[in-house]
């Protein structure tokens, strides 16, 4: 009797699963199904990983784990490594190679990545290789990130790669070791969330403003447990660079993975990149990639809709990316916030940031400006900033304005276009590629109490240096702030220019 019931149950489950697989799927469902190796009874699953990107901070303990257990990587050609988090960005320090890294602890970590990659045979773009750069810039640039892939990296901003219609997310170091050894990840299917941005963005409004506005709307825990697909006309109109910026910050909304469906732009971007498929494979791949969109009938567990034409340039005023508002707004008053926890967080943030409730955002004075990071260090970002800076000077009240390209190749391209000259003429420093002041693991950091207009992704306490005060903005807004010494609506500055 009992056996009979179990059989019937398992049969009906089978039918149910089959019915589901016939049903319309989201992009995330498709990527999940295509990589599912084993579904366990308790909801956890083994999924196959196509690409693992490695950097010096979260990999040493993983390689050490392999060595201790006497294990070998499952598939060497699935991995690509580059040091980024704590490489120096001044050319003097870079010229001397690893030996020249002044900070001993950083030097050991960069050296350890080289040693591990050599020992296990992993392809690495070393510190002074022109292909070196921020891992999330390098992957797509090399065609190591492709549509339809599963991509992991021991870094939360791995969500960036979802811009290519890939399933990409950050993992911890134990998982880095797990993927190195088994080519699989133990995980659980997330919920499907659609964030749709309708209409078109106005001039001077960028992907960064869109994603900050989204986080302001849903909060930093808004996407917890979800994979977010970004859709709608405003998203479709974004360049691949813009889509990467958007997906990069999905994690700041709590979603491990963000993604955008594949279209002509995606394919155009990938074509001809060093690791992209060639010849017959290219045609087959392009055909397969056409399916990397959510079916029209697909259902999402959650849907959030924003109007693109209502979004204006954004500036964060607090210590969490959700503490954000439009540049023409004011710093909120904690006394007017009903939710007690939120009110306490807000007043704590204002105290840390040294801001007053009711203060105009445009009255916030800056000490430093940072243009770079895996969020905004691609050629389009540098062009947008240079466009604002051209023919102007960094305000004398700014102690330092940095531009740190995302990779050696981007740096070269920018130099071919003369962007470096525009920046240095204006008083910016033009640096070597790396994560730099986004997280201040190298020498580029804020002093206590200093305000920074930063194109990075996190404004947490101490993120850019002990006691430092970070304001997240787009590259154009950061450039405008550098010129004026305080925040300004870049659209007004543009009008002034014309």
């Amino acid at each position: 009797m009992e056996l009979d019931l179990t059989l019937r149950l398992s049969r009906s489950l089978h039918v149910l699963n089959e019915a589901k697989s016939m049903a319309a799927k989201t992009l995330y469902d498709k990527l999940w199904d295509a990589h599912l190796v084993k579904q366990r009874d308790d909801g956890s699953a083994l999924i196959y990983i196509d690409r693992q990107l490695l950097h010096e901070v979260t990999s040493p303990q993983a390689f050490e784990g392999l060595r201790l257990a006497g294990r070998q990587p499952w598939r060497i050609d699935a991995n690509l490594a580059t040091p980024d988090h704590n490489v120096p960005t001044t050319s003097n320090e870079r010229m001397a190679g690893i030996e020249g890294i002044v900070d001993t602890v950083s030097r050991i970590q960069v050296q350890t990545l080289d040693d591990n990659c050599r020992e296990f045979g992993v392809q690495e773009f070393r510190m002074n290789d022109r292909r070196q750069g921020i891992v999330h810039v390098v992957g797509p640039e090399q065609g190591a990130t492709l549509p339809g892939m599963t991509v992991v990296c021991g870094d939360s901003h791995t969500s960036t790669h979802g811009a290519f219609g890939a399933l990409a997310h950050g993992i911890g170091t134990s998982e880095v070791e797990h993927v190195l050894t088994t080519q699989c990840l133990v995980t659980k299917k997330m919920q499907n969330m659609l964030v749709r941005v309708d209409g078109q963005l106005g001039d001077g409004v960028t992907a960064k403003d869109v994603v900050l506005a989204i986080i302001g709307e849903i909060g930093t825990a808004g996407g917890n447990g979800c994979a977010i697909e970004f859709g709608g006309d405003a998203i479709r109109s974004l360049s691949m660079e813009g889509r990467m910026t958007l997906c990069n910050m999905a994690i700041e909304a709590g979603a491990r993975a963000g993604m955008v469906a594949v279209d002509e732009q995606t394919i155009e971007y990938v074509k001809g990149r060093p690791y992209a498929p060639k010849k017959d494979d290219w045609d087959k791949a392009v055909e397969a990639w056409q399916d990397l969109v959510s079916d029209e009938e697909a259902e999402f567990d959650r849907v959030v809709v924003l109007q693109g034409d209502k979004i204006i340039p954004q500036v964060t005023w607090g210590t969490s990316p959700e503490m954000v508002g439009p540049v023409d707004g004011i710093v909120p008053d904690p006394a007017k916030i009903k939710d007690e926890t939120q009110s306490i967080s807000t007043s704590r943030a204002l105290e840390y940031m040294g801001l007053q409730a009711g203060q105009k955002i445009t009255d916030i004075k800056l000490d430093r400006v940072f243009i770079g990071s895996c969020t905004n260090s691609r050629i389009e970002d540098l062009r947008a900033a240079a466009n604002v800076v051209k023919g102007r000077k960094v305000s004398s009240s700014i102690k330092q304005a940095l531009v740190v390209p995302g990779s050696g190749l981007i740096k070269e391209q920018a130099e071919r276009e003369g962007l470096d000259k525009i920046f240095t003429d204006a008083g910016f420093e033009w640096r070597e590629p790396g994560c730099s002041m986004c997280l201040a693991m190298n020498a580029d950091k804020l002093g206590a109490g200093e305000h920074c207009a930063s194109t990075s992704n996190r404004n947490f306490e101490g993120r850019q240096g002990f006691g430092g005060r970070t304001h997240l903005v787009s590259p154009a807004m950061a450039a405008a702030a550098a010129i004026k010494g305080h925040f300004v609506d870049v659209r007004e500055l543009n009008r002034e220019m014309n």
Partner: protein, 215 residues
């Protein structure tokens, strides 16, 4: 990995929402190539009044007397009571390494960021999600009784309060099994090696361009 079955311990309350992993362990300590030794720098910027450096002896550093872990009543705590979205931000596994190295084996909160939640299980730390009201109640009880302890029973999935009242919680069966037995994920996955190989063969046939491009 250390097994987790039962835990009786002092509870330390960290009354702050959205505690990010930068706060749990600041970036300068991520330069270590080891998995251990992060405990003295757990919550470094909240805990000390000066800026911490890697490889520094922390015993002589000025402590922030206001910070909860510096209060004598919470010394020896092994359970951290926290607020919404604990562990958000960076994926650094150094965060659970630091918590574990300090002596925490369990974190109770209304909700956790996904990557941090995952990382806990790889390091013998049990993250427990409870309803907001239950967490509020625990914060009140911890504040009103010095030396407040909880008993965590992972096998039965209950928290037992000092007065014997129980709060049920739930953990995925697989994760619970691994934690209770101190099992290494990799060994378990490799039991499915032939399954992975056969998946891989089909995957290559369908998507040959995903293989061999990087040499």
């Amino acid at each position: 990995m250390k097994k987790f079955t039962q835990l009786n311990g002092i509870v330390a309350p960290l009354d702050r929402a959205n505690v990010d992993t930068d706060m749990i362990i600041p970036k300068q300590f991520l330069k270590s190539i080891k998995r251990s030794g992060f405990g003295p720098n757990l919550f470094d910027e909240l805990r000390y009044l000066d800026e911490g450096q890697p490889d520094q002896d922390c015993s002589g550093r000025p402590l922030n007397p206001e910070f909860v872990l510096n209060k004598s009543r919470y010394q020896g705590a092994s359970i951290l009571l926290a607020r919404q979205n604990f562990g958000c931000g960076s994926s650094r596994e150094h965060a659970p390494w630091a918590l574990e190295d300090y002596g925490f084996r369990c974190v109770i909160a209304p909700g956790f960021a996904d990557i941090f939640y995952n990382n806990c299980f790889k390091n013998g730390i049990l993250p427990i999600s409870l309803l907001d009201d239950d967490v509020d109640q625990l914060f009140n009880e911890v504040a009103s009784l010095e030396g407040y302890q909880l008993a965590i029973d992972l096998d039965r999935e209950v928290i037992v309060k000092p007065d014997g009242e129980e709060i049920a919680f739930s953990i995925d069966a697989f994760r619970r099994h691994c934690l209770i037995n101190g099992l290494d994920d990799i060994g378990l996955t490799l039991e499915d090696e032939s399954l992975i190989r056969s998946y891989e063969q089909k995957h290559i046939k369908k998507n040959p361009w995903l293989f061999g491009a990087i040499k």
